[in-house]
Amino acid sequence: MLLLLLLLRFSGAGVRMKGGLRLVVLLMLSVESSSLSPPGKPVLLGCRSPEKETFTCWWKPGLDGGLPTVHRLYYEREQLEGTHECPDYRSAGSNSCFFDKNHTYIWVDYHVMVEASNALGNVPSDPLKFDVMEIVRPYAPENVTLMVEEKQESPYLHIRWKHPSNTVSRSGWITIKYQLRVKQENSNDWKNYTSGTQMGFSLYSIHPGAVYEVQVRCTLDHSSWSEWSNTTFVKIPNYLQNERPFGILVSIFSTIPVVAALCVLVTKRKYVKRFLLPPVPGPKIRGVDVQLLKSGKSEDVLGALIVNQNFPPMVARKDQMEEYLIVSDGGEWLLPAPLKSQKKKKSSFIPAGFHLDSQCKESTPSQVQENKDEMKSSSNLEQKQEFSGINFAAADLQKGASENFMQRLPNSGYVDIQRQENIVEVDGILVDYSRVKEVNGDNVFILQKENVPLSLDVQRREESMSEDYSRVKEVNGDNVVLLQKQNGSDDSFCTEKGNRYTHCTNQTQRNPHMTGLSKIGVCTDLSSDGYVDTIPAPSLI
């Protein structure tokens, strides 16, 4: 390159030289200098203040360009005129600039950039703007020491450390807060703990025989966290030997009573069974006086339960009518809420599905067994009002979702209040009860017409049931009950039994799976005795 330069000089002196030769020389010069270029763009890596009193900035130089390159840092500052150069390039190492206390101002914006320059040009870096408050980041804590201490036979780990060097926090200028993390040697699960401003920490949940690693870091007020300190290891001595025989003893002694208890349980399993699963009490049949049973007067009881053809129909029925009445109800002793105001103690309730003649079959399985016997015994009988007692009795048994309550009438009748949702299965037919809507007078109640939300099964059965039952729709006066028209089917199917019945149309077929018992005389007529005989419903509704 020097030679070429000399050539140029000489050629310049010799004006006679052709311009072309000069061009050639220049080209050659340029070819030679293609390895030289202005420097690459440097990159400002960042600045950091470890104690909020000084700060340092670092940069990374770009490509050299082949020429010696010099990097210079320039900054501007709020409340300071002009651009200034870095005060100290050395203290913090190469490619760095250190601002000492005199040059560090907090809560003002700095505007910093680095310029790389060589003979061929200057290239500035991208600037960095910051407030020293934002770049505070302390060094890691030092001298982390671990000590295993034993207190009351349980070991714990006491961890201690010192504040990072070059930070003095006596003046209140900085408040250092610490955080530590611990893990066992072979796992990857660090557990973090916050220590606040304390420079010590006690760790109690340690396993004897394990090796623990501990690291600590800190922050200044709201600054970023420092790096984690170097890992410190500690091995917890093994205390297991002392504990093992004790543990064995404890386990042996604890199993003996357990085994003994088991033996006792096995030998006395009958008693245990009786204790845990008490026998189901027998059904409480309403209308049956328990005292009566106890006293041994079983005739009346049996008379109530067993129906046979020999039973005098009218008289007995009347008696029973007086005594037994099943009422569907909201499952309460009291009337349903709308009726509360009208509740009268002497009220008698007529069930919606007033199936005097129907046989109520217990729908709950627990009572099926017991009912079946009764049902069987009375199954040969025709539908009769005398069955009403049974019906009621049987209906009593039905629990469903509610409880049955009996209310004793002044004339010693029973009224059984049942929840409407209870479906009494009468010989395979489910019967709905309407809710008592209103009570007029002493012996009359008006039933609420309701479409009971039934299951599909019930619906199916309802149809068959509707042949035989009709719901009481309205009661007029003392002696008249209006029955509700069933869904599409003719109701008021009355038996031809007795002169008690008014003319009812026998319009529906008998349900094949109805026995004689299950024929229900839906039509009722309220006699002065206080019970209801069936009357033709359709005409009235």
Binding site: K52, E53, E78, I106, D109, H111, P127, R170, G172, W173
Partner: protein
């Protein structure tokens, strides 16, 4: 009254002056160190909230961090001369430092209130940010009252002279109630307040460790 006397007697000589001279039952004497701790905690929380809000703002508006151009962030509190380093703050007289703190707190009362109002109408921000701005606005008010109490106590104890003006007076308020802050954008307002709340916190800590250094400095 006996209880008070006993309590007051237990305090250090600095705090020996009892405040419960009216013989009120159950009156509770707060030591100066205690008062300082409270206001410092309060200021720390205030700065924390301003930090959070500032970060959230940056997420929304993404102002370029390294704007080319002269550093010229004009906070409306730039006129208040504040020490910019540890030595400067330590060298400043107690009364002066206390006055600086109070001036800063007073200067931010109205701007923060208006900031909260504008935040409440801003649809971009969720309720959380809006609550924070309200909290921030309240805190500046409460902190000023707290610092006022500390000043009163210090004056009563003779630690500082009575030259610290009562900045609640209307004259002082009028002086600092320049309309500069109305011209500032929300983001700049947040940036300036973040800085000023940090100043208040640091000045209070320095003041405390100068006056009652034995309690956790």
């Amino acid at each position: 009254m006996l209880v008070c006397l006993v309590l007051c007697g237990k305090l250090t000589a600095v705090d020996a002056a009892p405040l419960c001279t009216n013989a009120q039952a159950g009156c509770h004497v707060l030591s100066l160190a205690n008062l300082f701790d409270r206001v410092i905690q309060h200021s720390a929380r205030m700065h924390g909230i301003s930090n959070d809000l500032h970060s959230e703002f940056e997420l929304y508006f993404l102002p370029s961090k390294n704007q080319i151009g002269r550093v010229s962030r004009n906070c409306h509190t730039s006129s208040i001369l504040t020490p910019n380093g540890k030595e400067n703050a330590q060298r400043m007289a107690r009364e002066e430092l206390t006055e600086v703190i109070l001036k800063l707190l007073v200067a931010w009362r109205d701007p923060l209130w208006h900031f909260h109002q504008s935040m409440a109408h801003h649809h971009d921000f969720n309720n959380f940010s809006s609550n924070k701005s309200l909290e921030m606005s309240d805190m500046v008010h409460e902190l000023r009252k707290g610092v006022q109490k500390v000043v009163e106590k210090m004056q009563m104890l003779g630690i500082i002279s009575n030259s610290v003006s009562n900045l609640a007076s209307p004259e002082a308020l009028l002086a600092s109630d320049s309309a500069e802050w109305r011209l500032m954008k929300d983001y700049d307002l947040l940036y300036c307040f973040r800085r000023d709340s940090n100043k208040v916190q640091n000045y209070l800590k320095i003041l405390k460790c100068r006056i009652v250094p034995e309690h956790g400095c």
